[in-house]
């Protein structure tokens, strides 16, 4: 297969070489002009910058790995040295905080977002559909600090005074959700993240669901399916690859979000992962800790958090790509 295609490419290249006017007829690959050099130079710049960036982060984090070893990944304390005891830098609570806030966000945003996308596609009249879609896309473009400040000023007091105590008062609530102290909490961070990634999720899932062929929906209904059955067994399965993409993208945004989480999670390093407990995430902790870290052995440790964040994102997108490819294949077979 591959052989024949290369052959045909070469053949057409030769065909061109012989049919091009004199002077334009250049043996392929020997002489490069400004066109080639410009593109090569620009792409080399990109390569160097990427290398520089990844290299620096990895290199600068080495002292932390040497100093802390495995503790860096599984430790749960973050104590710079006080002169007598050695520094302790463990990323576990940031890692769990990141995962927990992102999960809360994607579950909330996923449920509300799916409902919204389905409503936009199947309930709204066509004229309103475009209008609502535009609004959603505009919301997706609002900078995250705006969501963060809204979270601090509006949502946090509400969680502190009303929602938190209500959750705690539920049967078993104190055990599951914990107790809200000042309103700032992992749950609040998750909610703010959910609000933030909701438009991203809806923007993509709306399009994906809109792409489900009408004839499949009609096929389902014509067999006597209810509208709910048509959603669950036809619309959602058919668009699952795209919905997965929407989830991945939204989750990626929640994962790396810094400012909003820094503002509302509480910034506390502790091994208490009740949703109403305060906590922190990798990204927001790096940003919040930077000021006081400068010049100390905390800097390599913060770089190490950066490495973890990078690795998690990498693993995440690899898994996502793998799953999407697998589903594509299954759908094509």
């Amino acid at each position: 297969m591959a052989d024949t295609s290369t052959k045909s490419v070469t053949a057409s290249a030769e065909h061109y070489a012989t049919t091009l006017p004199e002077g334009r007829n250049r043996p392929s690959g020997s002489v490069r002009g400004p066109y080639e050099w410009t593109l090569i130079a620009l792409s080399v710049i990109f390569g160097l910058v990427s290398f520089w960036f990844v290299g620096t982060i990895l290199f600068k984090s080495i002292p932390a790995f040497k100093q802390q070893g495995f503790y860096l990944l599984v430790g749960n304390a973050w104590n710079p040295t006080d002169g007598t005891t050695p520094s302790q830098y463990g990323a576990l609570s940031m890692i769990i905080g990141t995962v927990e806030t992102s999960l809360i966000a994607i579950v909330l945003a996923g449920v509300v977002g799916m409902g919204t996308s389905l409503a936009i596609n199947f309930l709204l009249p066509a004229r309103l559909r475009t209008f609502v879609a535009t609004i959603v896309e505009l919301l997706a473009a609002v900078p995250s600090v705006v969501y963060g400040i809204w979270g601090v000023l509006v949502l946090a007091p509400w969680v502190a005074s009303t929602f938190g105590p209500w959750l705690t008062a539920l049967p078993g609530g104190a055990t599951i959700f914990g107790v809200s102290l000042a309103g700032k909490s992992l749950l609040l961070a998750g909610i703010v993240l959910a609000v933030m990634i909701l438009p991203t999720f809806v923007a993509i899932s709306r399009e994906v669901i809109g792409a489900v062929p009408a004839e499949l929906i009609e096929a389902s209904l014509s067999l006597g399916a209810t509208r709910w059955q048509t959603l669950w067994r036809t619309v959602i399965p058919t668009s699952r690859i795209g919905l997965f993409g929407a989830t991945t993208l939204a989750l990626g945004r929640a994962f790396g979000e810094t400012i909003a989480v820094a503002l509302v999670a509480g910034g506390v390093v502790q091994m208490n992962f009740h949703p109403l407990a305060q906590g922190t995430s990798l990204a927001s902790f790096i940003a919040g800790q930077w000021g006081e870290a400068e010049g100390s052995d905390q800097v390599p440790a913060l770089y190490a958090l950066g490495v973890f964040l990078m690795l998690f994102s990498l693993a995440f997108s690899l898994i996502a790509n793998r799953l999407v490819a697998k589903q594509r294949k299954a759908a094509a077979l």
């Binding site: 096929a219 014509s222 067999l223 006597g224 699952r240 759908a331 077979l333």
Partner: protein
């Protein structure tokens, strides 16, 4: 266009010199499966089909023919209430399935649609399901869970759609691995598995090659024992070959489809009573 080339005259002539006297054996003399009374369909006040009235004989094939825009498909889709999905669509008049008024008789649309199945222009198997899951999907929608029942229904429906022998060894394969003609027969099987009384077919062969088309036409003749078929077709030869009764629709001056003539197929193609029918089946327009 193909109609004009393929010469409906041929069909008409051969039937005219046929063995049966159309006056004697009117296929509509038996029991009636569906009745249409002054059926009109409007979209946002614009009439697409006006005042259609005829009976659909049980266990026969009734063909709806007419040029593009004559409202054949619109009329067909009113028979299983598919227009309910379209905002601004309104169906008036009366459509009876047996004795039940399908719009005002209080019958739930889900029940109605399991009694009136449908096959669409392009094969539309569910792409995420296997062949087997496609066939039994309608039964599952209707709450059937027992594997033995599903298995039996799947085999029976696939046999009825003349597909079982071709795919019996790969029931778990994705439906998209089938050829276009096989996919369409799968869609027929899927509709039959629910055991409908009536099967609506909306130009079921328009996306298929001639061999697949022939298979489906032959299939329709067999299927009559099992269901009443109403088929929309662009292909007059198809109507002449495969149907017992033909309804000819034409677009009126205001763009609404109107019923010109409904008669036994043999009669309509040999001695049409309306000159416009003659013009159409002789390929003078459309």
């Amino acid at each position: 266009m193909t109609d004009t080339q393929s010469g409906p005259m041929g069909a008409g002539v051969s039937i005219a010199h046929g063995m049966v006297d159309p006056e004697v054996e009117d296929p509509r003399l038996g029991p009636t499966a569906m009745s249409l009374r002054d059926v009109s369909v409007t979209f946002n006040g614009r009439t697409a089909v006006r005042d259609v009235t005829f009976d659909v004989p049980a266990n026969k094939v009734t063909a709806l023919i007419g040029p593009s825009g004559s409202g054949k498909t619109t009329l067909l889709r009113s028979l299983n209430r598919l227009h309910d999905l379209t905002k601004g669509a309104r169906v008036s008049g009366q459509i009876l399935l047996g004795d039940t008024d399908i719009y005002n008789g209080g019958i739930p649309t889900t029940v109605l649609r399991s009694r009136i199945g449908m096959v669409f222009q392009r094969p539309n198997p569910f792409p995420t399901m296997s062949i087997y899951d496609n066939v039994v999907s309608g039964l599952r929608f209707n709450g059937v869970k027992k594997k033995a029942i599903l298995d039996e229904a799947a085999e029976s429906a696939l046999n009825a759609a003349a597909l079982f022998d071709e795919i019996k060894d790969r029931m778990k394969a994705h439906a998209s691995t089938l050829s276009g003609g096989q996919q369409q027969r799968l869609c027929i099987a899927r509709a039959l598995a629910v055991e409908p009384e009536v099967l609506l077919m909306d130009e079921p062969t328009s996306a298929l090659d001639p061999i697949s088309t022939k298979k489906i036409e032959e299939l329709m003749v067999d299927l009559k024992k099992r269901v009443t078929i109403i088929i929309v077709t662009h292909n007059m030869q198809q109507a002449a070959r495969a149907s017992d009764v033909t309804a000819f629709l034409l677009m009126g001056e205001d763009g609404a489809g109107e019923q010109i003539e409904v008669d036994a197929t043999l009669k309509l193609f040999s001695q049409p009573s309306d000159p416009r029918t003659l013009d159409y089946i002789q390929g003078r327009f459309g």
